[in-house]
């Protein structure tokens, strides 16, 4: 208190400057940190056509599991860089690809060939061979991936894990 007592106005100003600078400092740290954490929201949806095998490998009327690499994966993803799908070849020769994720809560559905049904191990969702809901809690049919045939290869357009 050797200096002249600061006036109330000066005190108020000093307090405001300090609080203001504190906020600026917090923002300078916070914006890059929060931005980094929210980065997945700003990424464009990655989609790539992946070949899953030659057309003649798939029999008409059969549904088989196929695997393909995710569109965007990092070097350390290991086995998690892969995704599975159910590929059905209709009797007419057309292809349909279903996500393995149950539309209820995402568990992997199994194809039961003899029963001609997909069944989910988690909460008992059941789907017909065209992916439509047969029983249980799923609110929607199985999600489909676009499929095409190119140069004799069946290709699936990868996409994000379907969130229903």
């Amino acid at each position: 208190m050797s200096d002249a007592v600061p006036s109330p106005g000066r005190r108020k100003l000093l307090a405001r400057i300090s609080i203001g600078l504190g906020c600026v400092g917090a923002a300078l740290i916070g914006v890059p940190v929060v931005g980094f954490l929210l980065a997945p929201l700003f990424e464009a949806v990655a989609k790539t056509w992946r070949s899953v095998g030659p057309v003649e490998q798939f029999k008409n009327g059969a549904t088989v599991q196929v695997k393909f690499a995710d569109a965007s994966s990092v070097a350390w993803a290991g086995v998690t860089a892969q995704t599975a799908a159910w590929l059905r070849r209709e009797l007419s020769g057309e292809f349909v690809a279903f996500a393995v994720n149950c539309t209820h809560l995402g568990c992997p559905v199994r194809w039961l060939e003899n029963a001609d049904l997909f069944m989910c191990p988690c909460h008992g969702g059941v789907y017909y061979n065209d992916g439509s809901v047969a029983a249980g809690p799923p609110p929607k049919p199985l999600t489909r991936y676009p499929v095409r045939v190119r140069d004799g290869q069946v290709e699936i357009l990868t996409g994000p894990t379907p969130i229903t």
Binding site: L38, L105, L117
Partner: protein, 466 residues
């Protein structure tokens, strides 16, 4: 000895440590609280087990989606004391969930959340939520098949939130699919974010306990009156209070040590949960299940009527949290004795019974198809002609048995068909199979007429023996 004493005095003169610790240890507490009051400190001891075993495990766990599984296998099967440490971390987590629950039930039943300890309760509710988050993120860090699919289930649940659901799901996955970014995020949440908040909240919780003192035993002749409670409490402590250390603390230490001993013995005898298959999303033979403390919620998700699902998945946790947080603000005075609070006791009993029933159901999960079902043995089928034998074979082959049991063999999803012919006529059975029924697919397009006839012929023999 003299040197140590001198050193302490030198240290104390510079830090005032004894002036800080002394009042905490010696502060007077109400007499006669007994063994009911040990669960809060026991929860803290369980948390400390988690901190120390967690730090040790973090020195060897590789938080990489591609390598975590292998590093855990190494910790479990090769590292010195690794199996014991993983076991302690698992049973420590179980103990923490169990004890935080008991502590909360005790606080609720003795009305200890009433004035002036409302904020103690609110902070405790936050700590309960954080404990569950730690349990869930920790389960994912096992990063086996169960961990990967649990992550997807969590993302799907978050996806049900209106408007921002898809964003939340993406943030949980750390991208568009489960992959390299997913595990490192959960590792950071489990190891840095959530524990940091827990430390802060535990500090606040304890500061509030010291500020207001622990609640005295409830007495129905003395309801809480916010205007007079504080001065009454202080007078009571002056008259009858006993020093926290060691009069009350010895029980905390004895019980806490027993908890630690139990955790070590369980970890040693039973060991950590075995890792399931590798975290490869293309291995779809999976049975994702939460750890035991969330099994009851797993049952809720299985049994919701589909139309209510979105409201319940999003609304129920929000509503439950809101009710818990608002509780001490709405009912902060009056009776604390359970004998004078029938509604409180009744609601506790109802909640405990509901969770108990749901937990039992979650353990059995009768709604899940039984993929392990095997063909019915001949002595059950007792075929009198080839068509019936063929029907029994088709009953298995066409997947009926995944959901329907006969003589104890098969799933619980649909009705037990051991004596179905006593309840349904041949025609009714045929119609159900071909058209489907509530929660049953139609088999009209997947069964040939002679196959359907064989199955019906077989089921028509399922009668109670006379």
């Amino acid at each position: 000895m003299r040197f140590l004493r001198k050193a302490w005095e030198w240290f104390d003169a510079r830090t005032d440590a004894s002036k800080i610790i002394g009042p905490v240890m010696n502060h007077p507490v109400p007499p006669g609280t007994g063994w009911k009051y040990v669960f809060g400190s026991a929860t803290l001891f369980a948390f400390l087990i988690q901190v120390f075993t967690g730090i040790a495990l973090a020195t060897a766990f590789v938080p990489s989606a591609g390598q975590a599984y292998e590093s855990l296998q190494w910790i479990t099967h090769e590292a010195f004391l690794g199996r014991l440490l993983r076991g302690m971390h698992y049973f420590g987590a179980s103990a923490m969930v169990l004890l935080v629950g008991i502590h909360m039930i005790r606080t609720f039943l003795t009305g200890s959340y009433k004035f002036p300890r409302e904020l103690n309760w609110v902070v405790g509710v936050v700590l309960l939520g954080l404990t569950i988050l730690m349990g869930f993120t920790g389960q994912l860090l096992r990063w086996d098949q169960n961990g990967v699919w649990s992550t997807i289930v969590a993302a799907e649940q978050a996806g049900r939130v209106p408007v921002i659901g898809a964003w939340l799901a993406r943030l949980i996955l750390g991208g568009q699919t489960v992959g390299g970014a997913t595990l490192s995020r959960f590792f950071a949440y489990h190891v840095f974010f959530i524990p940091a908040v827990i430390f802060a909240m535990v500090g606040l919780h304890l500061a509030l306990v010291l500020r207001h003192g622990i609640s005295e035993l409830p007495d129905s002749s003395r309801p809480v009156d916010p205007r007079t409670y504080r001065s009454w409490y202080e007078n009571m402590l002056r008259r009858e209070g006993v020093p926290f250390w060691p009069d009350a603390a010895w029980r905390d230490v004895v019980f806490g040590a027993a908890v630690v001993a139990c955790v070590v013995v369980l970890a040693w005898r039973i060991g950590p949960p075995l890792l399931t298959k590798p975290p490869d999303p293309t291995i779809i033979e999976a049975y994702p299940r939460p750890d035991w403390y969330l099994l009851w919620y797993f049952a809720v998700l299985a049994q919701l009527p589909p139309g209510t699902e979105n409201y319940v998945i999003v609304g129920a946790p929000v509503l439950a949290g809101f009710c818990l947080l608002i509780l001490p603000l709405l009912f902060n005075k009056g009776q604390r004795a359970p004998s004078r609070r029938p509604w409180a006791v009744a609601s506790m009993v109802i909640i405990a019974m509901s969770v108990g029933v749901l937990w039992y159901q979650g353990k059995r999960s009768p709604w899940s198809p039984d993929f392990g079902a095997t063909q019915l043995p001949a002595h059950v089928v007792q075929a009198t002609d080839p068509q019936i034998a063929e029907g029994a074979r088709l009953f298995f082959e066409k997947g009926c048995q995944y959901c329907h049991a006969i003589a104890g063999s098969g799933g619980q999803r649909g009705p037990d068909l051991t004596y179905v012919a006593d309840k349904l006529t041949e025609k009714q059975i045929t119609l159900r199979i071909l058209n489907g029924a509530f929660n049953m697919p139609s088999f009209a397009s997947s069964l040939k007429p002679d196959e359907a006839s064989a199955i019906v012929a077989f089921l028509d023999t399922r009668k109670l023996p006379h």
